[in-house]
Symmetry: C2
């Protein structure tokens, strides 16, 4: 058993992406951010849907339509496949701890 | 956007099971427990794998081999399909908030 809030004693300068469960059709990963943002002018454009929850820290996402979303601990959202988005802000103290589930959610 | 820690002002006596994402192959749900346990002599025996994380409260699980696991906020584990288990304890103050992902995790 492991704990999602346990962090390495020293965090690297880059974001940490750690698969917790990885299979053909689903990826559950922990992401630890310490101030990193999506590089200027770049967008995430993902093949799969992503359900993501921020469990620690504060962050801000942006969409191509110009809308922004401020997230605090416990906030979750669904980002559909190919819904372009950017990370505009992540707190470093405390670090952001995200739990992300990547899969194809074919709605019934 | 919603927050996993937002609870109804009055919780019912039963456990709350709330699907957050539901599709053919995956269910992401929030479970809120307030002292409930699995009825005596009964076991969960699930068709799908379950990845589960306790996000608030304290709880205890048991397996058929007699082993027990005490969980605190942030602890997560994978319960394989047909791995029989019981919930032996859930705290009511604060309520337990679980995030569970039910799917078939065919390991690569």
């Amino acid at each position: 058993m492991a704990n999602i809030f346990n962090l390495p004693s020293e965090l690297p300068d880059r974001e940490l992406f750690e698969p917790l469960v990885s299979s053909n059709n689903i990826l559950i990963e922990r992401i630890v951010s310490t101030g990193q943002t999506t590089p200027s002018g770049e967008w995430y454009d993902q093949e799969k849907d992503e359900w993501v929850i921020l469990l620690q820290g504060e962050a801000e996402l942006a969409y191509v339509d110009g809308s922004r979303m401020a997230l605090k601990a416990g906030d979750y959202l669904l980002i559909k496949a190919h819904q372009k988005h950017r990370v505009e802000y992540t707190s470093s103290d405390p670090p952001c701890i995200w739990l992300a589930i990547h899969a194809k959610f074919q709605q019934q």
